[in-house]
Symmetry: C2
Subunit: 135 residues, 2 copies
Amino acid sequence: MSVERRDVVKAVALGGAAMLSGTPAAAAPAQAGSRIVHHVFFWLKRPESAEDRDALIAGLRTLRAIPVIRDLQIGVPASTEQRDVVDSSFDVSELMVFDSVEDQKTYQDHPIHQSFVAECSRLWGRVIVYDMVTV
Amino acid sequence: MSVERRDVVKAVALGGAAMLSGTPAAAAPAQAGSRIVHHVFFWLKRPESAEDRDALIAGLRTLRAIPVIRDLQIGVPASTEQRDVVDSSFDVSELMVFDSVEDQKTYQDHPIHQSFVAECSRLWGRVIVYDMVTV
């Protein structure tokens, strides 16, 4: 098992342990074992362009080389049931997990992330970011 | 290791393997090994009420008993840098992973989920759901 793979499994195992420990609802948002989940939704300038979508996805894949990222998932809208509360208007989404707010900041400032923004920001017209700390 | 814990670790290991396999950008949204990520953001009717927030978090924790859920994370806004693109106005968030759209539907219809909605929907004034399929 590669170091990278081992880190992923370890990170998830830790998350699973925290998930199953049955800790009560926390009043404070920062507690031992908590993670930062960074979820970004992109709306393309040209949503009809599969080429632009694939270019954005390819750009997001380059972010995997940034060491502080504990998990990275890239997605497109799922074909789940359409309900009033479901927003399926986005084109591409990235979901990342970090150990801490500091690691998330390190990611923001990392040259690979900066290159991604420089090269791909022309593709999207709108972006929304949600950052949560797990409790 | 409990069955539940083992399933979580297994699910994450599979996700990690898919993440590191370096598959090219997919044109089709459904491919082998893809997952459904279901991310829900709640805005409380009484955002100043820690009691309501904790009641919602406690309600969300009951969902763990639904077998089709491969991962469940519950969070509150993180103290990451405030930027124009960051929406930190939500009060509570839940992030779930499923193996398929069918499993997500099974979750929606599950009695535990229905009970959660019946008991906790009085707490929130607004909800947004994003469903993505990983590529």
